[in-house]
Amino acid sequence: MFNKRTFAGLAVFTAAAITLSACAGTTDAPASDVDASVATSAADFGGLDALIAAAQAEGELNVIALPDNWANYGEIKALFEEKYGIVVNSADPDISSAEEIAAADNLKGQDTAPDVFDLGTAVTLDSLDYFAPYQVENWDEIPEGNKEATGLWVNDYTGSMSIGYDSNSVPEPTSLDDLLGDDYRGAVALNGDPTQAGAAFAAVGLATVQSGGTLDDFQDGIDFFEKLNDAGNFIPVNVTSATIAAGETKVAFDWSYNNLAAAATVDGWKVVTLPGTVYTSFYNQAISKDAPHPAAARLWQEFLYSAEAQNLFIVGGAYPVTIQTLQDAGTVDADALGALGELDGELVTPTADQAAAAAALLAEKWAAAIS
């Protein structure tokens, strides 16, 4: 099958090959005398154009843990390459947030170290020492609660915890309790282990609030999955696009953008967000303070918060952090937002303390609940 993604991949590869061969023989000359690694805004370079020039002189950007089918990162990376002529080296797309930080540690000082991170909140707050502060041009468009004051980290996009299902073989679930029925025997899966992966952790959080509990105590959610397992409906397999396509996981708790990405490629895959409390959680963007390409890292940040890239998140089924500004200014991709639908209902996100308490509870009880 020669789909769009394969084509994009080939294009990236070819571009990389051409650029690399073009690079051979030339020496790197700094475009300006600005020390990019301590710049906290484009103004430090002397404006956005100077930043672009500095980034292009570096020529490459190392990103990590950005799968092509996650929140539309495939198109976002491709557009960045096309727009600025900078090669994006995408390493280890499927690793966890904690492994991103471990990679920064292990590769420190090498030119393959990650330049930028895309992290879950718990790891972000635990890893502030790894970040360089930076404020993008449209800093004011990012709501106050969604950024660290100096720009060490900034929220980038969120989804809601949703349920994807194969409409060809199971009925649409309208409540959590539906999933306990016989129709869903051996069908319900999570994207990872909640004691390890943020998406699965959020699924237990959703089960908690949907069962009438609060995020202060995840016990209700753990109890739900224990019942699901006892009913023989839980299948302990990681959801991936492959397991969905193969029919191995017929029902999947996952972020709305991941489920929507699956719906776009798998016939009959549908996404439902349960009525009532909606669980959301922002991912966070940060620049590595040891970035081997400090200017490109900062340009990537500028690019991600531009209307163009923020709209691409919407196309990918995620809600970008500047969505309010986009809507107010009329620059939002209305078709994509229409297809996605607005987030409504009561939105909840765990605080750092709630997340830590839930993690401790899961570490203690999860393995026993599902075995």
């Binding site: 718990a122 051996g186 282990d193 390890q196 943020g198 401790a360 393995a367």
Partner: protein, 304 residues
């Protein structure tokens, strides 16, 4: 390790001057050097570094919290599960493998079937990880060929009580897939070492087939059999990739606990726990190897 003086004693002979002894002894050590350096760099140092992290906090302060953490119920349960999977697959694998070896003895050593099984075993003994896990998912996953065939044609639902392939019991058939061939390639040389003359001597002295196997073959084969058994145990105990590809929930065996401690993005600050878990695994292996050496000193008496 032998020291210089014992090797001199062993190789000592008449008419050789002492400095030659010393030269020969040095030569032996020189020959060992590349291997020793290899073991030091790629086994001893990394193991020491990894295990020692278990005794420190993230900030580098000495702590025994991680060691105490080994006795948490879920960690103990994962050690139990690891031990269970390794023991069952090692024992079953060793018995089936030994029977296969016995059957192979009846074939011509240079025959087509024998060499076919030899080479297939060598390949399959190394067939593990994601490929093996995927092969089993395709065969007997929820939508696997065999699963659907049994369900649609014979009305047998192998997952009526929930899907066990992605749990600890699922590791048993999957691990056996590489344990049996490994037993065949490690145990076959010992079986081939059985001499026809021993059987003839036994027959001449009026022994039966039973006395041959119980009084001659079994004692001779025992050390090699138990050695292979322990190799199989160690092989299963330290297996990671296959289990990681198959089991995604609950970190049910120790290598998966180590993964969880290292990569978790929700339960943070347990990186050093991985060192303590590794220490636990090493202790189990040391106990097993100690048991092996005790067994071997007992069985070696029969070999004199």
């Amino acid at each position: 390790m032998t020291d210089a003086s014992t090797s001199v004693d062993v190789s000592g002979g008449a008419g050789v001057t002492p400095w030659r002894h010393r030269l020969r002894a040095t030569g032996k050590f020189l020959g060992l050097t590349p291997f020793a350096i290899y073991v030091l760099l790629f086994l001893a140092i990394p193991t020491t570094l990894a295990v020692s992290t278990g005794f420190f906090t993230e900030d580098g302060a000495l702590t025994f919290d991680n060691i105490v953490g080994l006795f948490a119920p879920n960690v103990l349960a994962s050690f139990g599960a690891s031990f269970f999977v390794s023991a069952v697959t090692a024992i079953v694998g060793a018995i089936i493998g030994a029977l296969v070896c016995y059957a192979l003895l009846g074939l011509r050593p240079d025959g087509a079937v024998r060499s076919f099984i030899d080479s297939v075993s060598s390949v399959l003994a190394q067939f593990g990880g994601v490929m093996l896990a995927f092969a089993f998912i395709a065969l007997m996953g929820g939508q696997g060929l065999l699963t659907l065939f049994l369900k649609n044609n014979l009305g047998i639902d192998i997952y009526a009580d929930g899907n066990w392939l992605y749990q600890v019991p699922g590791l048993l058939p999957v691990y056996l897939y590489f344990q049996v061939p490994l037993m065949v390639i490690t145990f076959m040389p010992a079986m081939q070492g059985l001499k026809l003359t021993w059987a003839e001597a036994n027959a001449t002295l009026g022994g039966t087939r039973l006395t041959y196997w119980t009084r001659i073959a079994a004692p001779v084969l025992a050390p090699s059999f138990f050695g292979s058994l322990l190799l199989l145990f160690a092989n299963a105990f330290s297996s990671y990739a296959t289990a990681a590809a198959l089991i995604s929930q609950g970190a049910q065996i120790v290598p998966l606990q180590i993964r969880g401690a290292l990569v978790s993005e929700t339960v943070l600050g347990r990186e050093n726990m991985a060192g303590a878990l590794a220490l636990g695994m090493i202790i189990v292996m040391v106990v097993v190897m100690w048991g092996y050496s005790v067994l071997q000193t007992r069985t070696s008496r029969w070999q004199r």
